[in-house]
Symmetry: C2
Subunit: 234 residues, 2 copies
């Protein structure tokens, strides 16, 4: 039986914007594995929740249900060891650091940049849920939390500096080949691309060229997804 | 012939405070290699410079002279492949990212914290050189650059968040065993420890326990070095 992944979507079912789901879609493609993607709106978590999945993505593989993108990556390498996502224990440990860097340094300025775009692409019921839950979490209206998007983009660009320097001398965060760390960072860019027409990177940024390479991987899996392709125009 | 490493020192020749030199001293110990350490003050670069070494550390191995800690680590793994500093190409690529993270996110608040302590531990001629070159680089007096050290320590503690989270579920940045990434971060803590009595970490910080483990490595190489042992007291 094919694997199944619950994939967050907007009002349009083909608009898939979860950065954590993108990590796993890229990871599955990296390993040459197939999964049926079930598009779920924010307010359609019931089937996934019955399986114990509280967050996107959740992966079902036969009787096994794994939630959380990091745990899913570990599960995939354990169950399907060919074409590993982590070249070894040390790579996995260093990728864990990279993950925390992305989640603590990039998530906030990026969310500020796209939060109103996310809200605008949700069905009515999901939009109400999103507004209420996020306004409670951040203690501010979505509009106040977003603030000045130009300023948030500048913060994002500044926070990206270590990745920018790294990509001056290597094609991918993982070196010559993309690794799970690349999918983690790319997931954040797909989050933006799928939902927002804001330009995040300048075309002379090493990250711009890296993102182009990432968009081309696996027959253009990212590039062909529903979204906006104007990010990073010169 | 034994390898030789040029190691920056203060007025007291046993006070070795260069973070980049500490990376390599730990790397040599990791690999079980010996090098004669030649203590050099800032104004005593002449011998090293004759070998082409403009910065600390410079390593001389027979007729080969390598400068820059990253290049030295690569050289050591290439020339002495036993007990690698990088478990493989992907680990090395991810370690490069870690290096840039340390150098762009931690160096500045840490330097602000300890710059006056560095100055206070230099011989008169080196202190004059240090003041002039750094005041030119930063466009401010050492005192103005340092500013409020409590505030700089808070900035440092905030910047360390991704490492702190990583060390909640693994003993070292490299996983179960220390890797070159650990030596990179530890070098920065040895920079402070060798020259300053300021307390950088709280004792309930996962980084505090990690630093204790690092200080114990290789018969307490870091712990027994000339410096201050009061960092991180509760």
């Amino acid at each position: 039986m094919a694997m199944k992944m619950y994939d967050l979507c907007g009002e349009e079912r083909e608009r898939r914007f979860s950065p954590y789901c993108w990590r796993i879609k890229m990871a599955l493609a990296h390993k040459g594995l197939k999964a049926d993607l079930e598009a779920c709106r924010f307010v359609e978590k019931s089937t996934m929740a019955e399986l114990g999945g509280q967050t996107f993505p959740t992966l079902s593989d036969g009787e096994t249900h794994v939630t959380d993108s990091w745990k899913i990556a570990e599960y995939l390498d354990q169950q399907y060891p060919d074409k590993p996502l982590f070249a070894g224990d040390e790579s996995k440990a260093l990728s864990a650091f990279f993950r925390y860097w992305v989640e603590t340094q990039l998530s906030l300025p990026l969310l500020r940049t796209v939060i109103l775009d996310i809200h605008a692409h949700l069905d009515e019921e999901s939009a109400a849920y999103f507004r209420e839950s996020r306004e409670q979490r951040f203690g501010a209206s979505l509009e106040d939390f977003a603030g000045d998007s130009e300023e948030a983009i500048k913060q994002l660009q500044a926070a990206l500096l270590p990745a920018r320097l790294t990509l001056k001398s290597q094609a991918f965060i993982g070196g010559e080949h993309p690794s799970f760390a690349d999918y983690i960072l790319f997931g954040h860019f797909m989050w933006a691309r799928s939902i927002s027409d804001k330009q995040l990177l300048k075309s002379d940024d090493t990250l711009y060229a890296w993102r182009e390479r990432m968009l081309d991987l696996y027959q253009g899996l990212g590039r062909s997804a529903t979204g906006y392709d104007c990010h990073g125009a010169a």
